[in-house]
Amino acid sequence: MKRLQALLAKELMDLRANPGLFVPAVLTGLLSLMLPFFVAVFVPWLTGERLSDSSDFTLAIELYRTEFSTAPLSPEGAVQGWIFQQFLVLLVLAPIAGAMSVAAYTVIGEKQARTLEPLLATPLSTVELLGAKVLGALIPAAALTFGSFGLYFSGVLFLAEPQVYQVLLTARALSIVFVLGPLATLAALQLAVCVSSRVNDARSAQQIGALIILPLSGLLVAQLMGRVQLTPAWLTVAAVILLLVNIGLMRTAVVIFDRESILTRWK
């Protein structure tokens, strides 16, 4: 565990020395934050038309009337609440994209910089090596998600209709941000690290690892189209699946990490 901590500290120091790595993720996160405010607050203010007057949002109003926590919301608040909750998935997606660029370089980056061989010459085990690499990308990604959520919440608190912020404090919203988000990020990062230890090109690792974004993007679209409602039961099943996927990926990563091939065949 101490060796994992030592390498993790190195990963975080390396990131601190090169904060530019997370600039794309921060920018994507900021854009993701702004989008729902644009739709739910800025456009109605600019046009003078209320969203609740549109027949497109009837379903949202009905849905929120049936829930205890959101029942007291005004019709406009209900629509805003629906929009802000739907876009939470986007908030989870943005840090994944940033963390992927870090994770994809973990093994292959060390190899290309010729820093991997001295590292492998230490008593560090494969589990410790990969664990530190994954955590080194997961920690800043999770911090970005939580920070973004803080900003998002503050924005809703001050810009949206009164009481709308409560939709972000429901078990559903919180589990998306604090459970599903980190689990999905972890899965993406582990996939990237797995691929990073098998390919000669970091771009391949990044592209393959980014596959995890596809189902999440699909989920976002399905939600917006009203095809899927993220109920607590649905979220629990998704969390369990992601947990199992993560355990499987962790084992796979250790099994396929072949020190000898990495040292002797990669050029």
Partner: protein, 324 residues
């Protein structure tokens, strides 16, 4: 200490190292020589527990380095890879601190400070590795390989690409390791470096083609030689020396090289013959072939890496027998 016993490593159909055996003892600098692709780095990696041999074994104080024991034994070995491999964005201190923790060094901060002082890099502690010169990077990499005070130090081309001053500094550090009683194995192309530091030399060309002390290799390959410097052309006096039953002579302008089996007996005879023939002798000195000559002679003898080496003992007294 560290022993390799009939190490063989294959990569698919290609044999990188075949039946190599050696032993490195504490307080000894062992040089591994060989042309590019001879298997030196592969041998070092097997000795460091980074890759497993296809057959044969590596033992550390009698304990074999196997998959389950490799991690623990790696903690007793310091490896300097061919490239310094420092984390560029981290400072010198951070680079060393991470490795000290990875090796489980007690009192990390103090150990790192002591190591930096020992290697004369304490004034660079806060500098990112990317800003260091190549010589300083190599020095930091050497400090990193030794931060945990390993019993065995494996150095892959430690002075490769360094300017003469930096190379000398690194050589002095290597000599310091010997005086500390560490076992040092040095893989290099630099014969001058080997000449200056090595106690024992092995020449690898897929197989180990020679292994002994530099002096013993010289004696076995070239015998004893004397160099006679004359005033004027030396070639005319060569027949007078050969007339004394001495073969293996060569001349170049005013100099004659003669191989003699018993220098203390033969040298006065040769001098008398030359004086009688009218030669003006300027000097007569014992001649020592350079290690480069020894090395090239060995490689000529073993063009394919499998040829015989009639004049060369295949293993030193401390080494297991070689299979041919």
């Amino acid at each position: 200490m560290l022993s390799a016993n009939n190490l063989t490593r294959r990569f698919g159909d290609r044999v990188a190292v075949e039946n190599a055996s050696l032993t490195v003892e504490p307080g000894q600098i062992f040089a591994l020589l060989g042309p590019n692709g001879a298997g030196k780095t592969t041998t070092l990696r097997m000795l460091a527990g980074l890759i497993q041999p296809s057959s044969g074994s590596v033992t550390m104080d009698g304990e074999a380095i196997l998959r389950h024991s490799a991690a623990r034994i790696r903690g007793r070995i310091g490896l300097l890879t061919e490239a310094p491999g420092l984390w560029d964005r981290l400072t010198v201190r951070q680079n060393l601190t991470v490795y000290a923790r990875l090796y489980g060094v007690p009192h990390v901060e103090r150990s790192v400070t002591d190591t930096m002082r020992l290697f004369g890099i304490e004034d660079r502690a806060s500098q990112p590795a990317a800003q260091l010169s190549k010589g300083l990077k190599q020095r930091v990499a050497l400090a990193r390989a030794l931060v945990h005070k390993p019993d065995v130090v494996l150095l892959d081309e430690p002075t490769s690409g360094l300017d003469p001053e930096s190379a000398r500094d690194v050589r002095e550090l290597i000599l310091g390791l010997r005086s500390e009683g560490r076992a040092v194995l040095l893989s290099t192309h630099n014969l001058d470096e080997v000449e200056r530091v090595a106690d024992r030399v092995a020449v690898l060309r897929t197989r180990m083609i020679a292994l002994d002390t530099p002096a013993a290799l010289r004696a076995r390959l070239f015998g004893s030689r004397i160099r006679i410097t004359l005033a004027g052309d030396a070639a005319t006096f060569v027949p007078h020396i050969e007339g004394a039953g001495i073969s293996g002579t060569s001349s170049d302008q005013g100099m004659i090289l003669a191989s003699v089996d018993n220098p203390s007996l033969r040298t006065p005879q040769i001098v008398r013959r030359l004086v009688a023939a009218g030669a003006d002798i300027l000097s007569v000195v014992p001649d020592q072939p350079t290690l480069e000559e020894v090395y090239l002679r060995l490689l000529e003898t073993h063009q394919d890496g499998h040829g015989p080496a009639p004049a060369v003992r295949r293993a030193g007294p401390q080494d297991p027998p070689q299979h041919s």
